[in-house]
């Protein structure tokens, strides 16, 4: 028995070892932004077997390590896109936090075809059992393009439907999809998007809310019924298997959409009522609601895709003050959240070009966010919010060896991405920040 377990462990270890001959790497004499601790102006990081072995100003370099000279370079923890669809073969995540005004669903995301639903009992738009971890495909070229921009991990979610499915924390590299998964249960992604025309219930926001409420009531009852039945199968009617409720019950946390103060209040109350650990996502008007977010100990995912003027709009159209103010103030949310002490992580919201991402982060920094907080929101905070901060998010011994090595500070267009390490494997992005490959595949 014991030998067998050992064999399995060896077999598991054997695969990456075979693929990556020099298993130890040392980055020497570099500036190291650990995020979790003090910045080392001159130090070394040693990686072994895909993990960080040691880090410090005077760390000794093992004899077998492949040495990377870090003179003039900066080492950061690998960046994390905290809400993404990368790796899932779905179109770019134009993650929308709300449906259209009036309750109609946003276009471009047609409701899954199926029979017209008449009520919550038909479990409409519920694919809570879908696991992103099972849906990963290496064919998504965004894996490479994001990695080249310094993103070593992402939390990817199925995004269709109301109960869209369970997300996974994944590393953006790997020989097989299964090798990419860090945590297959990152949480359940919910939207408030009603059914489209002809799709049946729910067709309005109030219908969606009532539906979600009913699902959680049903899930509670289902759980109890299953426990009773498991204890006394004889003489009891068996509870009907319900994969949608199984998915709901399996969720470690839920992600709820909230863009403006009204939605933020609503979703915070809703999460409390549902007795679920929740992350809010969107939050671009969060600067108006930091007090309630703080008071309720909320944790949020902030969309970096700040609102913009429509690219091909009517040149004579006069925009409302409200729209202009929103566009002007949305990027202040990050600084406001940091100031209020609300834990937050950034997500890219479908931004695909390095220049766009850099510009978005610089906008937030221009509005008062410190560089350290910006880095944290893309690394350790993201890891913490998804409960993987024991493995990701900072440069500490024992953590997964996900690093970005740059020549120059992050978020500057002229900064060169020298190396990206994912699971200790070194990648050298093409020198010029190339246009994202995904453009061609879409």
């Amino acid at each position: 028995m014991k030998t067998r377990r050992l064999l399995v462990a060896l077999a598991l270890l054997a695969a990456p070892l075979a693929a990556e001959p020099p298993s130890a790497v040392a980055i020497r004499n570099a500036r190291i932004i650990t995020v979790s601790g003090a910045t080392l102006d001159r130090g070394s990081v040693v990686l072994r077997n895909g993990l960080i072995e040691s880090v410090g100003a005077s760390t000794s370099i093992p004899a077998d390590a492949w040495v990377v000279e870090g003179e003039g370079l900066t080492v950061y923890p690998g960046l994390i896109d905290a809400l993404s669809t990368v790796g899932l073969n779905t179109p770019t995540p134009t993650i929308q936090t709300t449906g259209r005004r009036g309750g109609g669903p946003p276009t471009g995301d047609p409701a899954p075809a199926g029979p017209v639903s008449r009520g919550p009992e038909d479990r409409p738009l519920n694919t809570s059992y879908l696991l992103a971890a099972d849906q990963i495909t290496l064919a998504d070229r965004r894996i490479e393009s994001y990695r080249n921009m310094g993103f070593t991990s992402a939390v990817s979610f199925p995004t269709r439907g109301i109960f869209a499915g369970q997300g996974a924390v994944i590393n953006l590299s790997g020989q097989r999809p299964s090798a990419m998964v860090i945590d297959p249960s990152a949480g359940l992604y919910l939207t408030m998007r009603p059914n489209g025309f002809g799709g049946g219930f729910p067709n309005s926001l109030m219908g969606v809310i009532a539906y979600i409420r009913q699902i959680y009531l049903d899930a509670g009852q289902y759980k109890e019924a299953k426990a009773i039945y498991a204890a006394h199968p004889a003489g009891n009617k068996r509870p009907e298997y319900d994969k949608t409720l199984e998915g709901v019950l399996a969720a470690t946390r839920i992600l709820l959409p909230a863009q403006n103060p009204k939605e933020i209040h609503r979703m915070l109350r809703f999460a409390t009522e549902l007795k679920q650990k929740a992350l809010l996502y969107g939050l671009q008007e969060g600067f108006l609601a930091t007090d309630v977010l703080k008071a309720r100990n909320a944790a949020v995912l902030l969309n970096l895709r700040w609102p913009e003027r429509a690219r091909d709009g009517d040149p004579e159209a006069v925009e409302s003050m409200r729209a202009l103010e929103f566009r002007d103030k949305a990027p202040t949310t990050a600084a406001a959240l940091a100031k209020a002490g609300v834990p937050f992580a950034f997500y890219l919201g479908g931004l695909e070009r390095a220049s766009e991402i850099n510009a978005a982060i610089r906008k937030a920094m221009a509005a008062g966010l410190t560089e350290a907080d910006a880095i944290k929101a893309l690394t350790l905070s993201a890891a913490r919010l998804f409960g993987v901060d024991d493995r990701l998010g900072s440069i500490e011994p024992g953590k997964i060896a996900n690093l970005v090595v740059t020549k120059g500070p992050l978020f500057e267009d002229r900064t060169e991405m020298k190396y990206v390490f994912v699971d200790g494997v070194k990648y050298e992005p093409a020198p010029a920040p190339a246009a994202p490959a995904s453009e061609a595949t879409r």
Binding site: T107, G108, A310, R311, D312, G313, D314, P315, E316, A317, V318, S320, M321, R322
Partner: protein, 414 residues
């Protein structure tokens, strides 16, 4: 004795036939076309205003005399845009005859589709409207808008002018929803090309008809365009904002067509172009919210004043049925926001009559015109004023309506 009684009975039908002959005495007459006349006498013979004079004006013996003491005579009010008789309940398809399919259908005549028994008609009359333009919708050229009297057994009785205007729903250029502006522009340009191509085919038809071609055949649609090409019937062109107004005017210049602008809400700098061509305008409802959320609250209230200042002739329309009864108060709202009172009154009487070519027969209280009159206890633009009596072509019209019936019914509820 019995013989006399019989003679009286025999005479009754004759007297009945002359119910469009009467005189109103001691009333204040507001002709609109001229200054008001106090203590005036108005003589109507066979539905036409025969004479307006002072208290001494002699009326033929036997003429029915209405005591107008303390009352005011105004011309019947004209609504320059409704769907009267075309639509009863817009959400019930069977009761709606507003539009036909297709882009070009100038041969359609709103008049023939009018339902004379529409419940809307008596309600619209309640505040003094005697005449309304019934406007068809749908497509680019929607059909002929007809000026209708709001009384009659049949549409023929009601028709004042069948072809008061040809309705053109001028293509709008707007990038809404997911559509890009470039896309909207392409679509718009295509529609303009289609429209010009249609006008060209109408002109070719006109030429073929003038110089008989052997195989010439009557085409109702193109035939209906001839009065438009000849300038006898104006095109009623919908254009809400500055760009649409400018585009519509530029288009009309190119096509050398006579137009009336319709539902203009924000002319902006295009006002000078409207004025320089003396294009009359039918104004959108004044009792409306501003177009955009940051616009001044009184935008819709003050637009009529802008037109007046620019010297443009305009009239008011209600663009619907269920609120068409409020037409005088639309004009009144403009007065409250600076429009001179006289201009507001003209915009619901003589101006529309002139714009739609019926000023020779109605639109003011003048000798020779039809007796389309209202008898009120005050200013018709004032909400408290009661319309006491109404005459259309001299025939007295019942002012009872669904509203008054319901009022009586529920007042009588024990």
């Amino acid at each position: 004795m019995r013989r006399i009684l019989l003679a009286v009975l025999a005479a009754l039908p004759l007297m009945g036939a002359a119910d469009d002959t009467f005189a109103i005495r001691a009333a204040t007459v507001h002709p609109v076309s001229g200054p008001k006349l106090e203590n005036a006498t108005l003589l109507v013979v066979n539905g036409t205003i025969a004479e307006i004079g002072n208290a001494k004006l002699a009326v033929p013996k036997g003429t029915r005399v209405i005591d107008g003491k303390g009352l005011h005579v105004y011309p019947g009010i004209i609504d320059s845009s409704t769907q009267v008789g075309l639509s009863e309940i817009s959400s019930v398809r069977e009761t709606s005859d507003v539009s036909e399919l297709g882009d070009f259908k100038p041969q359609l005549r709103a008049a023939v589709a009018i339902n004379p028994s529409s419940e809307h008609i008596p309600v619209i009359r309640a505040n003094g409207t005697t005449t309304a333009l019934a406007v068809p919708g749908g497509g680019l050229i929607a059909g002929q808008a007809s000026m209708m009297h709001l009384d009659g057994w049949t549409w023929e009785d009601m028709t004042v002018r069948r072809d008061a205007a040809m309705v053109l729903n001028f293509p709008t250029l707007s990038a809404s929803g997911d559509r890009s502006f470039a896309d909207a522009r392409r679509n718009y340009d295509q529609q303009i090309r289609n429209l010009s191509a249609y006008l060209e085919s109408a002109r070719r038809y006109q030429k073929a008809k003038a110089a008989p071609v052997p195989d010439f055949r009557i085409d109702l649609a193109l035939d209906a365009m001839l009065p438009v090409l000849e300038g006898k019937v104006p095109l009623l062109v919908g254009a809400e904002r500055e760009r649409a107004v400018r585009d519509a005017i530029a288009w009309a210049d190119r096509e050398k067509l006579k137009i009336v602008l319709f539902n203009v809400r924000r002319p902006g700098k295009a006002m000078t172009e409207i004025k320089s061509r003396n294009i009359p305008v039918i104004l959108g409802p004044t009792q409306e919210l501003p177009l955009e959320e940051d616009d001044p609250y009184d935008e819709a209230f003050t637009v009529p004043l802008e037109f007046h200042k620019a010297g443009v002739k305009f009239a008011f329309g209600t663009f619907g049925n269920q609120f068409a009864r409020n037409l005088p108060y639309q004009a009144a709202t403009a007065v409250a926001f600076g429009l001179p009172y006289e201009e507001a009154l003209k915009a619901i009487t003589i101006n529309p009559a002139e714009i739609f070519g019926i000023s020779a027969i109605t639109g003011s209280v003048e000798k020779g015109k039809w007796a389309d009159l209202i008898l009120t206890d005050g200013d018709p633009l004032e909400v408290k004023t009661q319309v006491k009596r109404m005459f259309i072509k001299g025939k007295e019209v019942d002012l009872d309506s669904r509203h008054t019936r319901l009022y009586k019914k529920y007042m009588a509820r024990p």
